[in-house]
Amino acid sequence: MVEDIPPGDDVSRYIDSPHKWSSAERKVIDSTLFEFPRPEEVESVVWRKYAPHLDDVHALGCERQKLKRETKPSWTYEGAITARVAEIRQLKNIAGDGFTVVHAPDEGRYHAHIGLAMAGGDDRIRQRKSDLKERLRGVFSQPDAHVCPL
């Protein structure tokens, strides 16, 4: 059942290597954190209502690693970053575009999506989206690192 996500709740995003984490430099690859690939233009996060402790998020991340490694052996869960839902929803770029945060329990009751909420019009749309993604990165925490058990 789809629920409303209160603004005071937190959501967390998995950080995985090699796509979002540079093992060589031990840091997040900011540019790949949020891409909003077409056609859905959403990015998945964990709703902390159903994963209240960081260890719960890491456990989910390690489960995802196990699944991903069936087709991508190098996919590694490295940790998570977290943000307050209200801060995400309040973000706007100079064109008035912003974000939605909605429950998407099709992939688990903890699963939610951050989506793009474009103000309208196609003028400079690509520039607007890049700037939006830039702002989104800024409201997430530094990564809480984790190493999955072997």
């Binding site: 060589a24 690859i29 900011d30 540019s31 700037d131 830039e134 990165r137």
Partner: protein, 177 residues
């Protein structure tokens, strides 16, 4: 460079080598041309570039200092990263060609970007500009989509720019040296 992306020095994509590359013809720049941010037109005939051949020749009169060699190496890595994006379908082939042209046209005196797929078939190039947020250039097909001071309250969205191998002055002006 600051903490931003798959820059040329991270080696994040280093484990993959591009496939299906074709060698470039040898070329030389006249001293005057080294000050123009335009790709050699003979390169445009190649649909895929070979980073090794592209960077094998220094500019006439250019001393092979450590800084020049480092710049060569970083460009080589950057082109390999882009080729990897193309090979994995993260960016379109027309975008890959345009991005390679962009790197070829990029002046030596400017900082090289960090690159990543933009999720929409394009490639995002990013530079941190001290005190002024970030400059973002998305290369998609033969177009550039540029943001100055991204993430800042006074961010600016430049008009969509057609890219024909020449990097416009207004774009170069917001890329750090």
């Amino acid at each position: 460079m600051d903490d931003y992306g798959s820059d040329a020095s991270t080696g994040s994509w280093e484990d993959m080598t591009p496939s299906g590359l074709m060698p470039l013809p040898a070329f030389s720049h006249s001293p005057a041309r080294q000050f123009r941010s335009r790709a050699d037109p003979r390169r445009c005939a190649n649909r895929v570039t070979n980073p090794e051949n592209f960077l094998a020749t220094a500019l006439p009169g250019e001393r092979l200092t450590a800084a020049v060699m480092q710049n060569h190496e970083q460009r080589r890595v950057l082109l390999r990263v882009l080729a990897r994006f193309g090979a994995e379908g993260m960016i379109s082939m027309s975008t890959l060609q345009a991005a390679e042209l962009f790197v070829q046209a990029f002046p030596r005196g400017k900082q090289l970007p960090i690159v990543a797929p933009d999720g929409d078939g394009g490639v995002l190039m990013a530079w941190a500009v001290p005190g002024q947020g970030r400059t973002l250039v998305t290369v998609a097909d033969s177009m550039l989509f540029v943001v100055s001071r991204a993430g800042a309250p006074d961010a600016e969205y430049l008009p969509d720019l057609t890219f024909d191998g020449v990097i416009a002055e207004e774009v170069l002006a917001i890329i750090p040296a």
